[in-house]
């Protein structure tokens, strides 16, 4: 008789290896060290977030082992980048490693290039049915998101080098959140890729990241949006640190689901069907992704309401951004209802997921660009 049948399934804690514990220990030590260095400048919420992050990333690393490697590498790279600055911002254009790899601008350019390469690679693998090429695509995606995260972390430090009162977490404007979007969508995709042991979906998910990268490049070269700007008073809140990432887990998941929806629609018409995963797998990824996105979007909207209650004088003011968040929420609530309660499956849900992306994009960008309200990143 097999062991798995007779023995109770061991709990997560019992499955952990010494490396897992070491990883977690490193995270908590890092958090404690950061507290000892900067604790005087943090309020109670920020201290909470610091250790909350240690806890969240511990568990993430335990559940999905590649996160451990990712965190170790980005910690090493960004700490080296920070060290290499010698507290002098001018070194971004002088020191070799900063200039070509680790300064936030360079790292973000690397991220952009790698994401585009990954997209191409996934398509080549889809066309050639080559598993090896697909593995290269995966590696490129991991590298891209590593560089993106390093870029954001170094940028965070750079903002403090400009002036201590300018320093802030780099998720405060359209430029920065587009990087965040690319990273989160890539991470979600890699998770599904690992979980379903299927690399073909990359050819569909990576284009949406490449589109974000394309916007980012236009925004950088045409509009010089990459400069770090200080925070306006309304954004000076600890809520930003959780509201924005939660929202982007939502946006990332919805985008991923829409792209899988596209794959589903093609495959259901017989296009690329032999190269793509089975329809029911695509359907499952789409559902899981929307479920995750919906959960986090719910949290993000509630966090937004909590923040609005402090900054705008009311938890709900029917600001266009709030209203569109509600519309997005209702849209996916309806999607999930139809699927779970009515048991609907098939192309209609895939179409709906694709259309959902347009609603989401409007809520994310369109509201800021076309409608007037308090919640605006300004015009492009």
């Amino acid at each position: 008789m097999q062991l798995t049948q007779t023995m109770p399934r061991p709990s997560l804690l019992k499955q952990l290896s010494p490396i897992d514990w070491l990883f977690s220990l490193a995270l908590w030590t890092g958090a404690a060290y950061a507290l000892s260095l900067y604790g005087n400048n943090m309020d109670v919420y920020e201290k909470g977030f610091l250790f909350g992050a240690a806890a969240v990333f511990s568990v993430l690393g335990w559940l999905w082992k590649p996160i451990r490697t990712l965190l170790v590498i980005i910690a090493a790279l960004s700490l080296f980048g920070i060290y290499d600055y010698h507290a002098d911002l001018a070194r971004a254009n002088q020191a070799f490693f900063l200039k070509y790899i680790l300064a936030s601008q360079s790292a973000i350019m690397w991220m952009s290039v790698l994401f585009v390469l990954a997209t191409l690679t996934y398509w080549i693998s889809l066309a050639s049915r080559s598993d090896f090429v697909a593995k290269v695509g995966t590696a490129l995606t991991w590298s891209a998101l590593t560089m993106g995260l390093v870029g954001l972390l170094v940028r965070w430090y750079e903002s403090y080098l400009i002036s201590p009162d300018v320093g802030h977490i780099p998720i405060s404007n359209l430029y920065e959140v587009f990087i965040l979007f690319s990273i989160i969508t890539a991470l979600l995709y890699l998770h599904y890729e690992n979980r379903y042991q299927n690399r073909q979906m990359g050819a569909f998910v990576l284009p949406v990241i490449s589109a974000a990268v394309g916007f980012l490049l236009w925004y950088t070269f045409d509009r010089q949006a990459q400069n770090i700007q200080p925070l306006v008073p309304a954004l000076q809140s600890y809520w930003m640190k959780i509201h924005v990432p939660a929202n982007f887990i939502g946006y990332g998941s919805f985008s991923l689901a829409a792209m899988i929806g596209v794959a589903y629609l093609l495959a259901s018409k017989g296009i690329l069907a032999s190269r793509l995963p089975k329809l029911e797998v695509l359907d499952d990824v789409m559902y899981k992704s929307i479920a995750v996105g919906f959960g986090f979007f719910t949290i993000a909207t509630i966090l937004g309401a909590l923040w609005a209650a402090e900054a705008w004088g009311g938890y709900w003011s029917w600001d266009p951004k709030e209203t569109w968040a509600l519309i997005v929420w209702l849209n996916y609530a309806a999607w999930l209802h139809i699927r779970l309660v009515k048991g609907l499956r098939g192309p209609m849900l895939a179409w709906w997921a694709v259309i959902g992306l347009f609603v989401t994009v409007f809520a994310f960008l369109g509201v800021n660009m076309f409608l007037s309200g308090l919640h605006s990143y300004g015009t492009l």
């Binding site: 097999q2 049948q5 309304a234 359907d283 919906f294 509630i302 029917w318 308090l374 015009t379």
Partner: protein, 650 residues
């Protein structure tokens, strides 16, 4: 369900309209935008405040009711379902399941299977039924809690929202117990029918308090009017401050306020309110919402643009106040509307008089252009003549360097939706306006034109015969006279009327030459009379003369006989506070927590049921789930394999 979805769709469409159509604007703006017909139609639908219309709130209430009934009806069944093991399932029904498997074995001991179920985290019940034993097992029943949590959460959130809405006020308005005030009255003049008592359950209103003043009411903007909400305390503003980053963007908006007891007039609490850090006092939250001018005192130099003396006279005034201005023929009123201690925007931007401190916009990396810089204070006023006509002016205090020369700028417009058009007054080498104003006085004074013309002739053709000199002097006097009537415009009209088309260009050039040289002489003259150093014959003076002529031409279109130059000011700022009382807030937040809990238990707890029907020579295995997912298929396959191994004794 279908009914609920239709209602939700209506709400979603209404919400979209509400985001596209700017809400709660002054009604005049809508009339301009849509015209009278559509304005009335949209007003009837309540589209200008869509989220507070009767029908919107009614739909919300109906949804709350129907969701509540839904919960009430389904709750007992849900709980029964959660508890039940469905141990009464018959063999017949199990065989009809989608996920079913049968193993042919003899005399299997149930303990082996129950151990397996224990290890897999299933709860189960055994039931002997005639010839067979049924093991009915289940897992993840808390999934059903997800349904209860999410739906109760929505009800709670809506109830909280309805508590904080203005339903009581709506009812009072419907019965005519309360009425909105649409006239522009002083707060104390607002009649009781438009005032709400301090006991009002919930409200959200705004008040502007100048430094050194206090307020004990807030204003609720409703439709095209307002109501006055009384407060249980008084708020005094000691000081409003703005801090800036070194790059010029705002870093902090803060109001030093004092809560004052209404009865005793004694201060109770001093506190600084900033954006993101409201003060909550007596159940009322006080937010930093905006700022503006609180009545800055201005000391001005008035320059009569059409007199001949070139001297200024003093004018004083305060923002939000009026001053009288008497000229020779008519009486003007100056309505001071705004003062800005600094300007970092482009010239010509339309300006708001209150600035929202809560906007998230400045975080944008692109909006902040680098070439913008602070051009100093400015103030804005309307000049209303005795017949009620008014033009609006915006004057900068400090000279501005444009095309490498210094000017004082004054913007003028006829209507608020137009951009300002700027007149530039050139500055003399001492960087004052006096040189220009004296020159302007002489240029508009016909009695002085012959003398100016004589000087011009003497310097232009010193050696010419007397009759030639006299002829040129007459021409020069004529040119000066025409220019004094209406600037370049008069001159060109004169040329068009009197000179044949073929000669016009030449004549125009000659006249301009005469005008410029004569003006130079006028400048020499006025400078000497004012005991100022004589102007040099250089480019700078040349430009000054040309600029002066342009300005003199422009004052005929300036629309006011007076230019007001800001000499100094004593700034008084005002803070805009938003005050809210929202007892529903905690209900909404409680509901929100429940919602998150519900959503996650709905998606991440999967309900599964499992049956093992054990007979003498077979085991029937069936599974079901309320959600058909790939994970469930996989799980069934795994259990099928495991159970097959167990019953076959592997």
């Amino acid at each position: 369900m279908r009914f609920a979805i239709s209602l939700l769709t209506i709400l979603a469409i209404a919400s979209i309209i509400g985001t596209v159509l700017k809400q709660n604007e002054p009604y005049a703006n809508y009339i301009i935008e849509f015209g009278q017909y559509w304005f009335t139609a949209f007003q009837w639908l309540g589209l200008y405040d869509v989220y507070r219309t009767h029908w919107f709130v009614t739909i919300l209430a109906v949804l709350v009711l129907s969701t509540s009934t839904c919960i009430y009806r389904n709750l007992p069944m849900m709980i029964r379902e959660m508890r039940s093991y469905r141990e009464n399932a018959t063999e017949q029904s199990l065989r009809h399941f989608q996920h079913v498997a049968e193993f042919q074995v003899n005399n299997i001991a149930p303990e082996q299977l129950t151990t397996y179920l224990d290890n897999q985290g299933y709860h189960y019940k055994l039931k002997q039924n005639g010839d067979h034993l049924l093991i009915a097992a289940k897992r993840g029943s808390a999934n059903r809690l997800g349904y209860i949590f999410t739906h109760s959460a929505i009800v709670l959130i809506c109830i909280g929202g309805l508590i904080d809405s203005n339903i009581p006020l709506k009812i009072e308005q419907t019965f005519g117990w309360k009425k909105i005030e649409t006239r522009d009255l002083a707060e104390s003049q607002v009649p009781a029918i438009s005032r709400l008592s301090a006991n009002n359950l919930s409200f959200r209103g705004n008040v502007t308090i100048p430094e050194g003043s206090s307020a004990d009411v807030v204003f609720l903007n409703i439709a095209d009017g307002y109501m006055v909400q009384e407060l249980p305390f008084k708020i005094g503003l000691n000081k409003f401050h703005i801090e800036h980053y070194t790059t010029g963007q705002p870093k902090m908006f803060a109001s030093d306020i004092t809560i004052i007891d209404k009865k005793t007039n004694r201060p109770i609490l001093a506190h600084t309110v900033t954006v993101n850090h409201p003060l909550i006092y007596d159940g009322i939250a006080i937010f930093q919402a905006s700022f503006g001018d609180g009545g800055t005192h201005l000391n001005l130099d008035g320059w009569n643009l059409f007199d001949h003396s070139g001297e200024s006279f003093p004018v004083t005034g305060s923002i939000h106040d009026t001053s009288k201005l008497a000229t020779d023929d008519t009486q003007y009123t100056i309505e001071f509307s705004d003062f800005r201690p600094f300007n970092i925007e482009n010239l010509g931007d339309s300006k708001k008089t209150m600035h929202d401190t809560r906007a998230v916009m400045g975080g944008n990396a692109v909006a902040d252009k680098k070439d913008l810089h602070n051009v100093g204070p400015s103030f804005q006023y309307k000049l209303r003549s005795a017949d009620g006509q008014a033009k609006e002016y915006s004057n900068y205090m400090l000279p501005m360097l444009l095309d490498k020369r210094w000017y004082l700028l004054s913007g003028m417009r006829d209507a608020p939706n137009q951009p300002f058009q700027y007149i530039r007054f050139p500055l003399d080498p001492e960087r004052t306006l006096s040189g220009f104003m004296r020159l302007r006085g002489a240029m508009l004074d016909k009695t002085r034109h012959p003398e100016i013309a004589q000087r011009f002739v003497a310097s232009a053709i010193p050696d010419a015969p007397a009759d030639v000199k006299n002829k040129l002097a007459d021409s020069a006097t004529k040119v000066l006279d025409i220019f004094a009537q209406g600037g370049y415009k008069s001159l060109s009209e004169f040329i068009e009327a009197k000179i044949p088309a073929a000669d016009r260009d030449n004549a125009a050039q000659t006249y301009l030459k005469i005008l410029e040289l004569a003006t130079y002489q006028a400048y020499v003259l006025t400078q000497a009379q004012a005991h100022q150093p004589a102007p040099k014959m250089d480019d700078e003076t040349g430009w000054f003369i040309r600029d002066s002529l342009n300005s003199i031409s422009d004052i005929f279109f300036y629309g006011a006989p007076v230019y007001l130059q800001l000499a100094n000011y004593d700034e008084v700022q005002a803070t805009g506070l938003q005050l809210t009382r929202s007892p529903g807030k905690n209900i909404v937040f409680g509901g929100s927590a429940l919602l998150v809990l519900g959503v996650f238990s709905m998606f991440y707890i999967r309900e599964r049921r499992l049956w093992l029907l054990i007979k003498q020579n077979s085991v029937l295995f069936a599974m079901s789930s309320n959600r058909k997912t790939l994970d469930f298929n996989n799980e069934f396959a795994r259990h099928e394999q495991d159970i097959a191994d167990i019953v076959k004794g592997k």
